[in-house]
Symmetry: C2
Subunit: 409 residues, 2 copies
């Protein structure tokens, strides 16, 4: 199940950046499961990774290799991504396997091992089937291509329980030149990113220095992937990479920087929202907008408390305007000195709550009409400050339980 | 659905304490939904209430009246509890209705309005059907009785989505005399108590001064009701009352106090566990034991992070020893400077995780054998301190979604 449409766009070429996808039979045969992304020399690469203490072996190795590249003043040259197996909770064996994957691709491509960053997604706790993975690498390298078909194949090659590929692209006019941003992402369950979503790869032809690239990535992740939740579970493998090939216009400051910042946020938000729309079992796409908070942190706390409430999520699934559950979730959010009489809650255009209780004009008919929609907006105003935040989430359906009670079988 | 057996015990008489239950037709006809508890003069009454900022009108009024009684150096004389309607999110009307309920029972019983404490449980956001509630009060008063049948009827009269009444009783030998503790509780969904469960009423014939009674209640609540979760949602109506009639032995200090403390914790823990066993859609009863933490708070944070994980809960439902999900949940717990290489995770007698990954001797067969049980113990050792905590929870099943997607229809 999934909410609404997510069209995979026809991605423009980003010069020098190529993607190769193959079927390595990592979990099951006949499925795209191994992707190699080739990055031109001179590019800058920035990464944001999960804060889960049990981070996966590829996250550890990707961080190490990225740091080594940066120390040499270079960008990474290759990303290698497998699906079907997260290589997480695999201890020393997992680290050795992640490094061996990098080493083999480095050998094939004629680069340093540390210029290759590994990414994995899938079941936690099983070791990688290294024979099949290594045997698949030459095919992925042979498939390297910069066309729209290669982007689409890579978008498909990183999926797990996702029902559809997720891509976003914008082309920005910066003065007389244009800059392109292409991104792909995967994610459907174990989605409560705490740095980034499961996996997202965004590339641009803009020329951006490393410190600015790092800052742009951090800002955009905080407003996009870090503002979504499907099931409150932060993954061991979250990673979001931003690649700037440098073949196009420079982005340094002023209006060009602002435009680029907006474009990047747009691509990342589209990808993040696509993850929620394709959330496991999702039948609703929900925007939670909190304002009137003392701080953005406080607004996020309220939004995530509501977004994680199983009772709110099942009411959304049932299209039941059970606003008492929203009110109860807001009331248990970690907010100091909370005066609930100042809180208003709106469901779409319908006022649900004011003065600590049901809004006088509220009718079940009006509430139910909004809840019946596939895309629902809940606005919560705390009436105590001028900060806000927006979070996107999905509902909790029978299919969510079915998917997660059957995932490994 | 519910896990295991919960036998409602044959409660001994607590002299002077009587319970009356009737069918007032508050939500539907032919169902016990209104309970009055009569407390003898001279008793001491202590209460613990929800910390949800949107607390229900009866919670506000019960707190006020309890404070007024304490200011006069008296205990409350009557508790009145309705099910079918939580009188929460009902603003000024709700407060007026809760006070009117107290006033009418006070008039019938010939006591002060402030000697009556109101409690409600059920749907949030609808006003109480005061005509039916007030019309039901005389019947409840007429039914007042101190026998085991009256305890059982009261246990049934406070239920909502619960599938069975929950009671616990112990009789303690204190020197040459005995002291009795009887308790009833309700709760099945919206269970993540933050002071107490939905509703629990515990009475003893012991004679205990107010400050000690308050302290004993607080301690016992922290180790029982505050250590359970079904669905992470803290209710607007949580309340736990402890009544000491004073007709029996005094409990002041020394061995008698220790015995009483243990007995109280036993009754409250049995009731709290009974709530989890009857958790909405529950098919498993899960004990999460965390040790090796820097503080009890840290141990509780880890335990609740695992207990709230939808992915862990669906794996429990599926009897799938998907230990990677437990590991991922532990890894995202809010623990500073977390060295995961020191963490061990055991499922029953089977070691799942050590040294940051799967334990060497682990086999799927061994894990699956434990997961197939109805009662499951997960032990997590953080290896960084000597503090611990135990939390009880249930799984996330199709029935949970069904119950909560259909509750109001």
């Amino acid at each position: 199940m999934a909410v609404g449409e997510t069209r995979f766009p026809k991605m423009p070429v980003i010069e020098g950046l190529r993607l190769g996808t193959t079927m390595a039979g990592i979990k099951k045969p006949g499925r795209r499961d191994l992707v190699v992304i080739e990055i031109p020399e001179g590019a800058r690469v920035s990464g944001a990774f999960t804060r889960n203490a049990f981070c996966a072996a590829p996250v550890t190795v990707a961080r190490e290799h990225l740091a080594a590249c940066e120390a040499r003043g270079e960008g990474a040259r290759y990303l290698v991504i497998n699906t079907g197996n997260a290589n997480a909770g695999t201890g020393e064996v997992g680290l050795r396997d992640a490094r061996a994957t990098c080493a083999e691709l480095a050998r094939l491509a004629g680069v340093e091992e540390q210029s290759v960053l590994p990414f994995s997604t899938g079941v936690i706790g099983e070791t990688l089937p290294m024979d099949r993975l290594l045997a698949g690498l030459p095919g992925a390298v042979q498939a390297l291509d910069d066309g729209a078909g290669a982007w689409q194949a890579a978008g498909e090659g990183i999926l797990t329980t996702d029902t559809r590929a997720k891509g976003a692209s914008v082309t920005l006019a910066l003065g007389e030149e244009t800059v392109t941003l292409n991104g792909i992402a995967k994610g459907s369950g174990m989605i409560r990113p705490d740095m980034a979503t499961m996996l997202a790869f965004v590339a641009t032809d803009a020329a951006i220095e490393q410190p600015l690239l790092d800052q742009l990535l951090r800002e955009a992740v905080d407003r996009s992937f870090n503002c979504i939740t499907v099931d409150s579970d932060t993954s061991t493998n979250d990673a979001c990479m931003l690649i700037a090939t440098g073949h196009g216009s420079p982005v340094v400051e002023g209006e060009a920087l602002e435009r680029f910042r907006e474009g990047l946020l747009q691509v990342m938000t589209e990808l993040a929202q696509a993850v929620v729309r394709d959330g496991e079992g999702a039948t609703k796409f929900v925007t939670l907008q909190v304002d009137g908070a003392h701080s953005r942190r406080e607004a996020l706390d309220v939004a995530f408390t509501v977004a994680h409430s199983p009772l709110v999520k099942t009411a959304l699934y049932a299209s039941d305007a059970n606003w008492g559950r929203i009110l109860a979730a807001v009331g248990r959010a970690p907010v100091e000195d909370f005066d609930v009489n100042r809180v208003t809650i709106d469901l779409g255009e319908v006022r649900l709550v004011e003065n600590g209780g049901r809004a006088p004009g509220y009718t079940e008919e009006a509430g139910s009409a909004v809840m019946a929609r596939e895309e629902i907006e809940i606005r919560i105003s705390l009436g105590r400050g001028d900060q806000g935040a927006t979070v996107w989430t999905s509902d909790l359906s029978h299919d969510y339980v079915t998917i997660n009670a059957d995932y490994r079988s």
